[in-house]
Amino acid sequence: MKLEDHINVTEAAHKGLNSYYRVALADLDAALSFLKQERARIGTITGKDARDHLEVLYHFALSGELHTVIVDLPSDAPDVPTITTQFEAAALYERELIGLLGINVIGIPDSRPLELPPKYDDPTPPLRRI
C-alpha cells in the first residue's frame, strides 16, 4: 500500500517494510482517515526537535509494514490536533508528546503529562534541544 496514491504528500520514501510520508498539517486528517479505513493500528508517536522546527511522526502498523506519517510544526507554536478521535490507543503517546516535547495536542481528553513528576518545573521540556 502506498499512501501517496491516495493522499496529498509532500515527500514519500519506501524501504523494506517501512514507508515514510511527509504531509502538510491540513492533510493529516485525510491521511489518518485513509489509514483507519485500511485497518491500520497506531504503533506509537515520535516527537522530534529538529532544531529549527518540531516533527511529529505517527507510526502505523499495517500487517508486517510500518507506515510513518510526518508533520512539521513551528517550535514556538507547536499545535497539533489529537488523533484519539480516530485512534483511541494514541492517548498515552500524545500525553508523551505533551510532557517530553511541550507539543500542544488540541482536543485530547486527558492532557496530563505521562512520565514527568508533578514537581518537574523546568520551563523547557526534556526532549527539546537548548
Binding site: N18, G43, A61, G64, L66, E88, A89, P117, Y120
Partner: protein, 391 residues
C-alpha cells in the same frame, strides 16, 4: 482511602489507591480504584515513577555506547531492546548481517521468551496464593539463566548484539549442552502446563477474571500475548520475519476472552513453541562468520518492531552522519498494554486486582532522573543536566 460519594443504594463509593510501591508486583505504577463494596466501578492509572530519560541519554552519547545503554532498559528484555536497535542501525547503513549471527540473535531472543514466560507463570501463581507453582517455575527458570551464562558469560545482561552481528559465537559443545537442557525444559513446560491448566482451583480462580474482548483489544492497541489472549492473531515474529524467523514456520498462539486463564493458555503454548524453535535453531545453526565490519553510519531513519516476551517492541532510530544519534524513540510493549487495564478491572472484585494487574505481564519503566555512582560518590542528575550534557 477517601469517600467518593454514595451510590443509589446508600453505600459509600470509596477511592482506594494501590501503588506506586509494589502494586502486586515489584514495579512502580499507581492505580486509583473507585469501589462500591468489593466491586471496582472505576480505575485511573499513573506511571512514570521510574522514568530514566534514556531517550535523551541516547542523543547525548556516541552511538557505539548506545547498544549497551538500550540493553539496560529492561532486565528481562535485555536482548529484545539491543536486537531491535542494531537491526535499525543496520537497516540505515545497509549492513548485511551473516546468517550465523541472525540465528544466534534468534536463539537468545527465544531463550529470553522462555525464561520470561516461566517468570510470569511463577508470578501469576504467587498472586493467587499458589506458592508451589512460583517456587517450581522459578527454580526451573534458573536452567535458562544457566544457559545464558554458558553462552554469554552473563545471566541477565548478555552483551550479545553488536552492529554488524553478534559478539559471542556458539561452539559445538555448547550447542550439545543447550540441546540437552532444552529437552529437560520441554518436559518441565509440560509439567507447568499440567499444573496450571489441569488444576480445578486455578480454572475457577482465573476463568472470567480480567477479560478483554477482541474488539476492545484492537481498539485499545493491545499487543503481544495480551492481545493474542483476546484472539488477535498478531505476532511480530510472524509478520515481520526479522532475524532468522523467516526460515521457520510459526503460528501465532491465540486464545479467547483475554481473561487470566486465556493469558496462561497463550503463554504456556508459546513456552512450548519457543523451546521447540530454539532446539531447531541450534540444530540448523549455519556455519560462517558472526560479524561484519562497517565503515560509517550514514544519515537516515529506520523504524521497526521485534516481538519481546511482553509483545511488540518498537524502536525508531534516526542518524545524522555524526557520532551521535539524531533521535531514538522506544515504545515498550507495556505502554501499549496499559489502556487495556480499564476494561479488565471494571466490574472485578478487589481481591482480583493483583492477579489482573500481573496477568498482562507488565513492565513499568520510565523516570525523571538517574543516579550516577562514580568513585563511590553518588550524584543525582537533573533534567537540566541531561539537556545541557553536564554528565
Amino acid at each position: 482511602m477517601t469517600v467518593a460519594g454514595v451510590n443509589e443504594r446508600g453505600f459509600a463509593k470509596l477511592k482506594v489507591p494501590i501503588g506506586p510501591s509494589h502494586p502486586a508486583l515489584e514495579e512502580p505504577a499507581r492505580f486509583l480504584f473507585e469501589v462500591e463494596g468489593e466491586k471496582v466501578v472505576d480505575v485511573d492509572y499513573e506511571i512514570g515513577f521510574n522514568h530514566r530519560s534514556i531517550e535523551r541519554l541516547c542523543q547525548e552519547r556516541p552511538f557505539s555506547k548506545i547498544v549497551y545503554l538500550v540493553e539496560r532498559i529492561c532486565g528481562i528484555c535485555s536482548h529484545a531492546h539491543p536486537l531491535n536497535h542494531v537491526e535499525r542501525v543496520e537497516d540505515i547503513a545497509d549492513i548485511k548481517v551473516p546468517e550465523r549471527a541472525k540465528y544466534i540473535r534468534t536463539i537468545y531472543a527465544e531463550l529470553e521468551r522462555i525464561h520470561s514466560h516461566m517468570l510470569w507463570a511463577g508470578i501469576a501463581g504467587e498472586e493467587i496464593g499458589y506458592h508451589t507453582l512460583f517456587m517450581y517455575t522459578w527454580r526451573e527458570r534458573e536452567k535458562v539463566l544457566d544457559l545464558f551464562e554458558m553462552l554469554s558469560g552473563n545471566r541477565v545482561m548478555h552483551g550479545c548484539n553488536t552492529i554488524g552481528g553478534v559478539k559471542w559465537n556458539i561452539s559445538e559443545e555448547q550447542a550439545r549442552s543447550a540441546q540437552s537442557a532444552l529437552s529437560y525444559l520441554d518436559t518441565t513446560a509440560d509439567k507447568i502446563a499440567k499444573a496450571v491448566l489441569k488444576d480445578g482451583s486455578i480454572a475457577e480462580r482465573g476463568k472470567g477474571i480480567g477479560g478483554l474482548s477482541k474488539e476492545d483489544a484492537i481498539r485499545l492497541g493491545a499487543v503481544g500475548p495480551n492481545a493474542r489472549a483476546s484472539g488477535v492473531p498478531e505476532d511480530t515474529r510472524v509478520m515481520c520475519k526479522y532475524a532468522a524467523y523467516g526460515d521457520f514456520d510459526l503460528e501465532p498462539q491465540i486464545a479467547n476472552d483475554g481473561d487470566v486463564v486465556a493469558q496462561a493458555l497463550v503463554r504456556l503454548a508459546e513456552l512450548k513453541q519457543s523451546i521447540h524453535l530454539t532446539k531447531d535453531l541450534f540444530a540448523a545453526l549455519p556455519e560462517g562468520p558472526i560479524k561484519v565490519e562497517y565503515d560509517e553510519i550514514p544519515p537516515g531513519r529506520s523504524v521497526g518492531r521485534v516481538e519481546a516476551p511482553r509483545g511488540e517492541l518498537i524502536h525508531y532510530v534516526e542518524t545524522n552522519g555524526s557520532r551521535f544519534f539524531e533521535r531514538i524513540k522506544i515504545r515498550a510493549p507495556t505502554l501499549a498494554n496499559i489502556p487495556s487495564y480499564v476494561p479488565k478491572f471494571l466490574g472485578c472484585q478487589v481481591a482480583d486486582i493483583p492477579i489482573i494487574a500481573a496477568s498482562i505481564d507488565p513492565c513499568f519503566s520510565c523516570t525523571d532522573r538517574v543516579t550516577i555512582i562514580k568513585g563511590g560518590k553518588r550524584t543525582v542528575v537533573s533534567g537540566r543536566d541531561l539537556k545541557t550534557g553536564r554528565i
